[in-house]
């Protein structure tokens, strides 16, 4: 039977990447019987389990019915967007994305949709995309254009009123920058910042 001092040694070993499955079993049995160690180390258990190859947090997460919901949503999407096929060649897919956007726009013509015009001065850039939570951070279909090499990059996007959007520009395919003209910026959780727009 593992004692508290052994439990502490096990935690030390885990911290240094040296925990074992046998040790984990004994440790768990100890936590079941020792309230103080359970309070002290219990929250670390899912991490220990993962390190030893036993599913911890994910195994406890409930995804019941998720597959049904996803498949239903895909079915509806395909019914509404007739002829929409995400697996066509890239060029054709881009056309469909534009088509789908227009479809959404036309169905919401009477609701609170506004056109937002984004611009960026980046004369040296070879390409600029707009990526945000409104396009799941994918730039496809959101490529900015410019009238001449000296003109700003620009794009107009239809967005719903009454919502807040976070976005950034992707310059030359890999450099993410916040919009210098954005009304506000927020921490994006990656150590960078996102441009915040409230409509």
């Amino acid at each position: 039977m593992m004692q508290c001092i052994n439990a502490l040694s096990f935690v030390d070993a885990w911290e240094n990447g040296k925990a074992t499955l046998d040790g984990l079993d004994e440790f768990r049995a100890h936590l079941d019987g020792c309230r103080e160690c359970s309070r002290r180390f219990g929250a670390l258990l899912p991490l220990m389990m993962r390190d030893i190859g036993v599913s911890g947090i994910a195994a406890a997460a409930s995804s019941a019915g998720l597959a049904d919901d996803v498949m239903d949503a895909l079915g509806k999407k395909n019914r509404h967007a007739f002829a929409f096929n995400p697996f066509l060649a890239a060029a054709a897919a881009a056309i469909f994305i534009v088509g789908l956007s227009l479809g959404i726009f036309f169905t919401r013509m009477n609701s609170d949709i506004v056109t937002v015009h984004f611009t960026l001065d980046a004369p040296e850039a070879s390409s600029v995309y707009l990526a945000g939570d409104f396009n799941a951070w994918g730039g496809e279909g959101y490529k900015l254009s410019r009238a001449s090499p000296d003109s700003p990059w620009e794009i107009s996007v239809k967005l719903e009123k009454g919502k807040a959007y976070v976005y950034n520009f992707v310059v030359n395919g890999s450099t993410w920058i916040t919009d210098p003209k954005a009304p506000a910026r927020i921490d994006d959780g990656f150590g960078g910042s996102g441009s915040l727009l409230r409509l």
Partner: protein
Amino acid sequence: MGSDSVTDDNDVVKKVLSGDREAYRVLVDKYGSRVVAFCRSRMRSEEDARDAAQDVFLRAYSSLASFRAGESFAAWLFAITGNHVRTRFRIFQSDRRKTEAAGTELATAAPADPAEDVERKFREEGLRRAVSTLPPNLRWPVEFYYFAELSVVETARVLGLGEEAVKTRLFRARKVLRHLLEEKQPKPGSRGNQK
């Protein structure tokens, strides 16, 4: 995640791309819990996490043509998942709902679940809170490795880091998390819990 898993996933993707939409269910079933667990690390309410997971799978389906055969589907999927949850807006939205949801969740869960399950939920919530205080360079590896259960190699690929860098960050994160979680507990002989 071994090469067999990669091969299986590639076969399923091929089926979906060839028109067998229903085959996609296999991937949702396989990775659903891991995507929910990962999203929950940021969303903090089960409802938000589930909604986010559904969005992720729809987004992944639409982007499936961009998946390169032979690659790790898990790494590809969680790159999408990471991008999806990165918006602070969603987190703010979640936090607003959390105030209502957290109370409801525990209040409704407690009578229905065994005591062990309730205790597990409290433990996980404590862990999530501790993880949320980590700096981004430690937090993301922890979430991809421990919550999404990606391998070190896959975590490195998603984050654009080397494997050694991921291992080092996980090592540092374990130390910080242990410190954070132990610090919250009353010291021996303390009366900290008494009101």
